[in-house]
């Protein structure tokens, strides 16, 4: 009996020594957060790390607080969110929210003071957009935000469902209005608490309360499934939101290979790919872990 225990202890010790970590991964509660979180988890596990799964940790506040207080070691965050929310009082951050390269460089530099390391961002822009029902877009020939402005200025009955943040922030709806030259009246805005794009889009798809336009994100998976189209922003009016992994510096210093492991994967995640992966979870109802594993396999990042 004793020898069995000794064996088990030795085995446990051996396994513990052979594995690196543990690394605690987290994410926001949304679909893309869950997919990216699972992707990092599976990738790290395949490379000999022990990983604690805290995916879908909480809202932006909770997950950021969890990272800065050391509750989790890494999670995917957006450059635009960091510049616009975490550094909202820093004018140097507000000046670069519309520029992908400068914005990332600035956020990397600013967050270094908080002992947070930013890995390379994915070449995707999960930014704000406005989506309208496909039939409406066809009838009124709407493809870009410039078409939307023309439509609004022509006296159309537009009702936009959006989050408070989308309406309030200087580089969101206000930027659209400024750059394309239109103005939505307060009674044309339906503010949904929480600011969840699936809900705004469902409202537009169903015409709830006369809503016929919705706040959307660039890589949302559900836009097409709900019979909506997202209007393009050819003049780059609004902030850029590139997803990137944020890591605590103490953890990054211990495992610098995190960058060499995660950066190549993120380099493959362009807008079309992310939308596709998000749609598999949001529309087809697949498990984020399954979707992430299948993607990593298909790109030969894991076997």
């Amino acid at each position: 009996m004793k020898s069995v225990f000794a064996f088990l202890i030795a085995l446990g010790l051996g396994l513990a020594l052979a594995q690196k970590g543990p690394i605690t991964v987290g994410s926001k509660i949304d679909t893309e957060g869950a997919v990216l979180c699972q992707m990092v988890k599976i990738l790290l596990e395949a490379n000999g790390f022990r990983v604690n799964d805290r995916c879908s940790t909480g809202t932006t506040d909770v997950v950021r607080k969890a990272l800065t207080s050391g509750e989790i070691d890494l999670y995917p965050e957006y450059t635009g969110t960091a510049l616009g929310v975490f550094f909202k009082n820093d004018p140097s951050a507000q000046a670069v929210t519309r520029d992908a390269a400068k914005g990332f460089a600035r956020v990397k530099e600013l967050d270094a003071k908080n002992n947070i390391v930013w890995l390379n961002p994915a070449p995707a822009n999960n930014t704000w957009a406005i989506a309208v029902p496909r039939t409406l877009a066809q009838q009124n020939n709407l493809r870009t935000m410039a078409d939307f402005a023309r439509w609004v200025n022509g006296g159309a009955q537009v009702r936009l469902a959006a989050s408070q943040e989308f309406v309030d922030r200087d580089d969101a709806l206000k930027a659209f209005e400024r750059v394309y030259g239109f103005k939505l009246k307060p009674e044309q805005l339906v503010i949904l608490p929480g600011g969840n794009t699936t809900q705004t889009q469902q409202a537009a798809a169903r015409g709830t309360g006369g809503v016929n336009a919705a706040m959307a994100y660039g890589t949302d998976g559900g836009i097409a499934a709900l019979g909506l189209v997202a209007l393009t922003d050819p003049r780059g009016a609004v902030a850029v939101y590139q997803p990137a992994i944020t890591v605590r510096k103490a953890v990054f210093d211990r495992f610098p290979e995190l960058a060499t492991l995660i950066n190549p994967v993120f380099a493959t995640l362009d807008e079309a790919t992310l939308s596709q992966l998000n749609a598999e979870v949001a529309v087809s109802g697949k498990n984020p872990a399954e979707v992430a594993r299948a993607y990593l396999r298909s790109k030969n990042f894991i076997r």
Partner: protein, 433 residues
Amino acid sequence: MRETPPRYLDPVAGLAAGLGVLALLLPWLELKSSRIAPGEPFHVWDWQGFGALALLILWAGVARAQGPAQVGLLGLALLAWGLLTGQGADALLSGQPESARVSPAGGFWLTLLALYVGYFAAYRQGGWILLTVLLGLALLLGLGAFERLGPLMEFQSWREQFFTELWRHLSLSGSAVLLAVAVGVPLGVLAAGNPRMGWVLGVTGFLQTIPSLALFGLLLPLLAAISQGLRLEIALGAIVLGMFAFRLLWAVSGWLAVSLALSLGLLALAMAGAWLNSLLGPDPLRIVLGAPLQESGVRGIGAAPAVLALTLYALLPLVLNTYTGLRGVPEDARDAGRGMGMSPEQLFWRVELPLALPLILEGIRSAASLTIGITTVAALIGAGGLGFFILRGVEGGAPDMVLLGAVPIILLALLVDSALRFASMALRRRVGI
């Protein structure tokens, strides 16, 4: 001439039948092109006109029949409810793309309510009725009547995680209730016996008014700081020392002693909560001496704050019921005990506690069903539980996924409630009250 007894129309059975007929007028199922798309409503007669007629006749029968005939008709209505649903799901989904979903709509749920009311009316005929319900439901599940409904399709893609979250839900609420009993009952005893301790009731009542999100917001940085700054043996030492210090301080200044007890008590509760949960739940953890508390699983997110918050919420019914139960012990009973020469201690264990026990058990019961419901919020702070599906479902705009979390929570609460009701009845009988 012998009079025939007037025909007795049971109002409860009548209500059930009314609801059942009303349900037929509502859409029974919804067909959606995907789990997040808006639904298109369908009535029973859209795929099975005969089924609608059969249900109509069955409900008319339920209203008029009595005795075993009523139970039989209810059983048939139960089977019809499930089979029509299964058939409808098959009919609506045939020829649809893979992403299409069928979700239960108003008529489905209202019929379920009608069945519940109907069985409620029939229940007074004896406990065997419950068996027929279980048998009917088992038959429907065996026939796969609900297999192609949206929530079960969600279950298919989340099968593994569903059982983990279910287990987490049970371990979170179980540890919270156990801790709340361990803390709340003694507090209630203290409050009932000592007029200086009346504030305990006020504090536990106040705790319940704090919104859970605010409580988590408060606990996260606090627990994170403690769990990184404090080493395990220091925390344990502080708690043990605190117990001695409390005795000394109590003589000097009540308020000082109480504030010491509260802060160390909260720390002890957080630690006990995390460990009890890891013992009962699917996430085992090691307790590491000589390392910061977070290595031993006491963190600002996850199980520790969740169980702590749930314990605080569950305190009120326990403290209140213990207090009320002990205060309600008749003075005559105490006098009789004293007359028999019982010491105060004997009086408490042999007279007061047994007499207060029924109310204390009621307190445990309401604490348990309350806690199972509010454990939903644990998902907000990364502790998991069935709330995970509700949160993800609301966030992703997928009502079927919300149901995957919500329906099991309701069933669990009902199950635990009736199990504890049964246990408390059995116990009362043994105590002889």
